[in-house]
């Protein structure tokens, strides 16, 4: 194993982990704000929130280098923010404004940001996985030590292209890490109604990929697992799949009251709220004082509110601007 120098992260420092706390809070507050903005008619269409799953975004992106690649899904606000997208760029996109990361033509399901290695945000189930394999092959051919991280949901492991991506990654030894966020539901339908296996890590094994199950509510566990998988990929040791057991606290999308939950299920998972878990741990360890925690909450909430206001003040894109996005060549504009 020849891990590229300076690439392996060490045990995260107290500073890092306080940063994680800020980030996880920012995501939580962002998502809550989105619900408000929906009520106010400032965000239209549909949106897929990630409350309950934020530890995965925060822990996994913390394990990456700045120039690594990521592909995410329609449920991608958390990943984009965790990767460092300014909240006004995310809000702007949800509101369809020029300040948005995709200048408002993408919308909630398409938070792409090439400047941060976030090379695609996919609204079609499973589509981003093979794209991540392609990005990983780029890095492999150049030998520049980058890796690609690809996220998908549990439901996505039933669509064929998921398996296609895994098989190609394994055959070509691509430096890619697949993260399956198993939140137990695909839209309104529980995992077991549509899925033959309970542990989705099994599906990595069937494609010759080392696979692990991870506690998706625990930022530290996520970080550790992804760090290891990323080092493995960077060291030319091949791809990994990490199944993160998690839960979404809200409905699938805006219009979903989530009546399909079994009694007590949500409550049980709320006890493992990733925000609370991290905060409690940092306090227990003395990394974060009560005052600090309070100060951070207030500050982050204000940042989110300000970002939403900034985004709302941005104009919508023009048709001419949108037209220029269709083709890169001059001929067809």
């Amino acid at each position: 194993m020849s891990v590229k120098e300076g690439r392996v992260h060490v045990t995260p420092s107290a500073v890092d982990r306080r940063g994680w706390f800020e980030r996880i809070l920012a995501i939580r507050f962002f998502e809550e704000k989105v619900q408000e903005l929906f009520m106010d008619g400032l965000v239209e269409g549909t949106t897929h929130l990630c409350q309950g799953q934020e530890a995965i975004s925060v822990g996994s992106t913390a394990a990456l280098s700045d120039d690594d690649y990521m592909t995410i899904t329609y449920r991608g606000h958390g990943h984009a923010l965790a990767r460092g997208m300014p909240p006004e760029a995310a809000f702007g996109e949800l509101m369809g404004r020029t300040i948005g990361c995709c200048h408002g033509v993408g919308g909630s399901m398409h938070l792409t940001d090439f400047s941060r290695g976030l090379i695609g945000s996919f609204a079609i189930i499973g589509a981003g996985l093979s794209v991540a394999v392609g990005a990983a092959l780029s890095a492999q051919r150049r030998g520049d030590g980058r890796v690609a991280l690809a996220y998908c949901g549990d439901g996505a492991t039933n669509i064929g292209t998921f398996h296609e991506a895994l098989n190609m990654a394994a055959v070509w030894h691509a430096p890619v890490v697949f993260i399956v966020e198993n939140n137990l539901y695909a839209e309104y339908t529980p995992l077991q109604v549509t899925t033959a296996v309970t542990d989705l890590a099994q599906r990595g094994v069937a494609n010759g990929i080392r696979s692990r199950i991870v506690d998706g509510q625990d930022v530290d566990a996520v970080y550790e697992a992804v760090l290891e998988a990323v080092a493995h990929a960077r060291g030319d040791e091949g791809p990994s799949l990490l199944e993160m057991k998690t839960y979404r606290f809200r409905g699938h999308s805006r219009t979903d009251p989530a009546k399909y939950r079994s009694a007590g299920e949500l409550e049980k998972w709320l006890e493992r709220d990733p925000v609370t878990l991290l905060e409690r741990r940092l306090r227990d360890e003395g990394v974060l004082s009560d005052d600090e925690a309070h100060e951070i909450r207030v500050r982050v909430q204000k940042e989110i509110d300000d970002a939403a206001a900034t985004a709302a003040a941005s104009p919508p894109p023009t048709l001419d601007a949108a037209r220029a996005f269709v083709y890169a060549s001059r001929e067809l504009r």
Binding site: H110, I159, L319
Partner: protein, 332 residues
Amino acid sequence: MNSASSEMSYRDAIREAMADSLEDDATTVLLGEDVADAGGVFKTSVGLVERFGRDRVFDTPICENGFVGVALGLAVTGYRPIVEIMFSDFLPSAGDAIVNELPKFRFMSGGQCNVPVTVRAIGGATGRFGTQHSATGETWYSGLPGLKVATAGTPQAAYSVLRTAIAQPDPVLFFEHKGLYGVKGPVVRSAPMDVGTAEVLRPGNDVTIVASLLMVQRALRAAAELELAGVDAEVIDLQWVRPMDMTTILDSVRKTRHLITVEEQVQLGSWGSSVIAQAAMEGIALDAPPDAVTLPDDLLIPYSPTLEDAIIPSATQIAERVCAIVGVAARG
């Protein structure tokens, strides 16, 4: 069957067409993502699993190509499946089943089987769903002999065209428009009809407007605007893209001597182009060149509500284009 008309939304008409088909024929089944307990993402199958049971109304995993294949297997062994594709943008995910299997299956077997599968695809913009969730696509698959392709622009058509589709011994791709679900109108629970019939929704003498899906409603509103400008428009709901009712359309064109087509697709490869080409090939004399109102050819459907509204043809834009060809000034 109740032949009295009742007021119903397009959404309810879809559900009732399925319910009546499930009721009439015990081999009819409905499958798709979230169609059972959740009643469909767009609530078009609410109550059906409770009424017909889990053997006949069932949820699938997310695997469009796979479950359309399953429908094919059910169809050639005695069932009559209805498959819901949640957004018509996911039809390409079932591309092989839709293009190479359903339409070709009977033919390749030398006519040994029927393939009574109806694929319902929910399409259309105006909902701010963004670039990957807003396509209609009714002509993408219309170049496939073996397949029948249908659409509905009114609650009545939602009922009767879908009912007809389900009754076919052949595969039918049926397009709904999510922007129409809330539209209400009178619905007669008609028995399955002939395929390939367009419907004249508003007779008129000055111009023939042929439209599909949401554009039917907008064309009707345009006709109301045009009336104020003294233009008497005939509005036709295309309904069947394959086979297409050229007789009804061209008879109307011969009468009005003006033709305009309206669809939520780009012009290249559109059904409108085929209608206009057919009129030209039959040498029908027009008083002005025909026109096609479509999506812009140099844009995809943007999320931004402002932009989405700008590119989907409005009633007023349709009326203006009609005025331009009939040679009167539009009244704004």
